[in-house]
Amino acid sequence: MPAAAAIEVQGLRKTYDDREAVRGIDFSVRRGEVFGLLGPNGAGKTTTVEILEGYRTRSAGSVSVLGHDPEERPPALRERVGIVLQSCGTYPHLSARETVAHWASLYASPRDVEEVIALAGLEEAADRRARTLSGGQQRRLDLALALIGDPELVFLDEPTTGFDPAARRAAWDTVRSLRDLGKTVLLTTHYLDEAQALADRVAIIKDGRILAIGTPGELGVGAAQRVRVSWRGEDGELHEREVDDPTRLLHELTAEALARGGSVRELTVVRPSLEDVYLELTAEEEETVGV
């Protein structure tokens, strides 16, 4: 296999009626990579992902998924792709196991049903009718149905929304095990910790545009290279300063405290997390519009 990208997106646009939901985005996902699309409600994540899945047509731009144009919906592509939609029902009167087994019959070389049930953490709910499953268990069934065909590429649109913390960790482990198996994963999420924990690279998307793209580490230091230093001053107030290089500031603070014979109280030096970058990037436009 050549090292061609699993997903290639160039100048992608999508217009609904007269509002533009995706306004010219470019990114590519390498094979074996976990790629995160991170953004607030209405950013255009689902629109983008569903274009890649072949559910929606694009208004402009070019898209390639495992070498195919998803808009043509080739069956060969559907064999190789697993999909977790943002919200989607199953047959309410079939048990989870029956549903997974039925889905297995739709693929040429499916994985083992019991194995996938275990992988998705569905063992306890496997014999219950789908309509009696909780929201989180439904989501695990969604995951199981996406994995049963043994796909090379998995789309996960908000895979952990509605999960309790334990289920979330379990789902994270599943995504990690997908990566270990060499699968390519494109996931969307609102959760920074999720993007940070799972994604090799993240694109931050808002209002149909990509604001930043890179590894979680790069985004943390790259987009906002500043370091935040905070401390409690002699006046009892909490001070905070953002600087490019904290060496000088720290030297001044400590020198002054030593000269006084005291200490710098509550001193912290933090590098902005992905969360800070995200908030900063996604807040910008609101500020300009809001004030």
Binding site: Y55, E79, I83, S87, C88, G89, G149
Partner: protein, 248 residues
């Protein structure tokens, strides 16, 4: 090709399982029609049974095909089940074939029950014209199912589905000659309305099959109108088909 058929067969079996496990579907698609047959058949004087019982077959076939598929498609579209299925390698033909097969099976069972019930319980003769019975059953089920799928595109959401289907179903059974023979009614208006509705032509065929002087050759017009309805339904069913619910 054999894959398409094998997968269609699987889907059909899945649909049967779903049907029997779903109390609402099993009640409206099977139990209620049987109860109607028993009650209405018992209340009808023996001399009118050859008119009314084929009428009930029409009502029950329409309920178990048109109503059932319109509701079911609306439900699956709203739930995203159609969309999910579309994301798998399953051929569209297998899926729709399995879904259609399930409804066709129920419709056939209803015809069989009315025929057998008519003979065993209500003293009707066995059909004189089996060919007519079979042809009308096949064409009727095809037409009502196609119309049901087409109609599901008009229904905005599942909550509204019972109201929408009854809006079509109730006038159909009341005006379409389930409880009277349009040919002998004194009201020209009723007769004209009945002539438009597909159910009246289906019932005409059912009635013809159990009358000695009936027979397919006397109902070519009915089967043609019924088939035309089916083709119109099929055209809208395919043209308007949507795997996803439209956004309001």
């Amino acid at each position: 090709m054999s894959d398409v058929i094998a997968l269609g067969w699987r889907q059909f079996r899945l649909e049967r399982k779903q049907f029997w496990r779903n109390p609402t579907a099993a009640f409206f698609g099977f139990m209620l029609p049987v109860v109607f047959l028993l009650i209405i058949g018992s209340l009808t004087p023996a001399s009118d049974r050859d008119i009314i019982i084929p009428g009930i077959a029409g009502m029950n076939v329409m309920a178990s095909t048109f109503n059932a598929i319109a509701m079911n498609m609306t439900f699956r579209r709203e739930q995203g089940l159609l969309k999910r299925t579309r994301g798998t390698p399953m051929p569209t033909g297998s899926y729709l074939g399995g879904v259609f097969g399930n409804v066709a099976f129920n419709g056939t069972v209803q015809v069989a029950l009315t025929v057998v019930g008519g003979v065993v319980l209500f003293g009707l003769p066995w059909p004189y014209h089996w060919d007519e019975l079979v042809i009308f059953t096949v064409v009727g089920i095809f037409s009502f199912t196609a119309l049901g799928i087409a109609f599901s595109h008009v229904i905005p959401n599942f909550d509204a589905a019972p109201a929408y289907t009854n809006f079509v179903f109730l006038p159909s059974i009341l005006l379409g000659g389930v409880f009277f023979d349009p040919a002998t009614t004194s009201s020209a208006v009723l007769d004209d309305i009945a002539r438009v509705l597909p159910i009246s032509h289906f019932i005409a065929g059912m009635r013809g099959a159990i009358q000695p002087d009936g027979g397919l050759s006397h109902h070519v017009g009915d089967v043609t109108v019924l088939a035309l309805w089916g083709l119109v339904g099929l055209w809208f069913a395919i043209r308007g088909f949507s795997w996803e619910q439209r956004r309001a």
